[in-house]
Symmetry: C2
Subunit: 342 residues, 2 copies
């Protein structure tokens, strides 16, 4: 079997670590594995495939002999290093926002638009985590019944802000329980027993960057500039799964039963909709899962024309929202034999 030499950029981060887990879990045909991070992580060691691998400093010449880069070290580092990786002959699956809206770069969720991998030029962008978790569920409905408008409210885990934010939630919660005042560091406000509007910068329309990503990335992946999306993105004291309340407006009427049938057949989606038991998607059950959980599937009572649907989803931010989707992209590249630049 052919193998691929893989480099993980940002190997010590929350997403980098899950990339390592998922490459192993899914038996991705890894030849050499190179773990790249900033100078301060050099010397850290991780196990992979029975070997101990030491972290190396990320440099412009880090990519010699590498076939695949999984990049998750932040947008500015992707901007700086991805061109070097591509020049060295690697394909980069980039988990940052740096290249997502670049018209030369495909933005891909394999369940949605794998065909866009065919025209990659060396960089493939992994979408925003909230966008992936929403669109894996919205896409199969869209494809069959054409969604015109989405109103989404997110309940986003701290993992989206990185490993240090996860530590902060745990540590700060201990402090608040001990009667101490919360001292936010990674996150802008107290997160223990609190929640707040996503703290990315607010643009001229009044939407924060996280919300604009959900709007623009959905249009790009669906190849539909007409689909309307409004979003309110909120950080909640949850460790690693994002939840979302999704309201959909369709071109035609759709019943909850039809929606359930479509979602039951959809890849990457698992229905958790036990009405009698009041058991629906929850972060603690979505964590560690590959599928995005969906429940509370109901016709929107506020649309007597039957063209509305309400859904409630929960998905692992580190897995399907980031690392898993990136590895699935790599698998799809192998499958489609497009592991080279167009």
């Amino acid at each position: 079997m052919e193998t691929y030499n893989v480099a993980i950029m940002g190997a010590t981060g929350a997403v980098g670590q899950v990339m390592l887990e998922i490459l192993a879990e899914r038996d991705f045909p890894v030849g050499e594995l190179r773990l790249l991070a900033s100078a301060r992580s050099v010397g850290k060691e991780f196990e992979f495939g029975g070997k101990t691998i030491a972290v190396q400093e990320l440099k412009e010449d880090s990519f010699a002999g590498i076939d695949l880069v999984l990049a998750s070290a932040g947008g500015s580092l992707s901007k700086q290093y991805n061109p070097h990786a591509v020049a060295a002959g690697a394909v980069v699956v980039d988990n940052t926002s740096a290249f997502r809206m670049d018209p030369e770069v495909p933005l891909v969720v394999p369940e949605i638009n794998p065909q866009d991998l065919e025209w990659h030029k060396g960089i493939i962008a992994n979408p925003n985590c909230s966008t992936i978790i929403m669109d894996v569920v919205v896409w199969p409905l869209y494809r069959q019944k054409r969604v015109r408008r989405v109103v989404v409210s997110t309940y986003q885990a701290v993992s989206g802000a990185g490993a240090r934010a996860m530590e902060e939630l745990e540590q700060q919660t201990r402090e608040v329980l001990a009667g101490k005042k919360a001292e936010p560091r990674e996150l802008p406000y107290q997160i223990a027993f609190n929640l707040f509007s996503h703290n990315s910068a607010i643009g001229p329309e009044g939407y924060c960057e996280e919300e604009m990503k959900m709007i623009k990335e959905t249009r790009k992946m669906f190849h539909d500039d007409q689909i309307q999306v409004t979003a309110t993105t909120v950080r909640v004291p949850v460790m690693r799964a994002h939840s979302e309340a999704i309201n959909l407006e369709f071109e035609e009427p759709i019943s909850a039963a039809e929606a359930r049938e479509i979602l039951a057949a959809a890849a990457g989606v698992k229905i958790v909709d036990e009405i009698e038991a009041n058991h629906f998607p929850m972060p603690i059950e979505a964590s560690g899962e590959d599928d995005v959980l969906v429940g509370r599937i109901r016709q929107d009572i506020s649309r007597p024309d039957g063209r509305g649907l309400d859904l409630w989803v929960s998905g692992d931010q580190l897995r399907k929202g980031a690392a898993l989707n990136a590895v699935q992209i790599a698998e799809e590249l192998v499958e489609r034999r497009v592991f080279q630049k167009v």
Copy 2:
């Protein structure tokens, strides 16, 4: 000054305790204060107005000489005891859901429909907490620009499930941090570092009772059977303030600036919308406040016709969501001199 003999039904509960606080804070003209609760709370003592008051067992004959009952002991106890209180000559402000949709009972938020107090027959219903917190903000916009449809997602504190649920959040969080398995008691699922769809029963339309309250109670208070509401209600690991992402569809276009002007002049509402600082309503800042905080005021980008608005609110569930609104109803009864049955 005329004084009123007041009984609190459910005096030892989370809402009952805040009723006691608010009666004192606002100098409500209390004559005698009678604290009523179940037999197991008899003997507990609370301070009020410099006196120590012992809890008495709630009985059918508990209401002799009482002018005002603030009832918050649960719907079945309200159904059982309110008629006795009314028969004894008292006015009942009922915080439970027992009488809210009774056409003979006004359902009142003083900032919205105080005139409905004029036709009370002894019982006045206090609306559901999520409904109050939404409608205090939606009403002033509705009155000036006619809202046609609301899509709301809630982030509800555990206080809405009572004092024991608040203890459970704290205690269970300690246990989870200590590596123990969560053992839900008051709440149906783990609440520490988790969240879940509101666990009230799901009806035939697929909506839970909490959601149907937001729909039906809004229509009743607004005197508008045509206003459409869809809701997804979610319990989050927050102590005592509910937050809500609210999407509004209007009859006519409305700008964010117009909305801000209307809300700035609205009673019971405080704008917290510091875009540069990324400072918006948060549960920890809404807790202990009388006003419902509103921010993220923006025109809905998904409606190019300009008829949409997105808002983010946070309000103290125990205060404006329950005890404060009940005491404000009592104050309005005094003000309007309708402290007797029609």
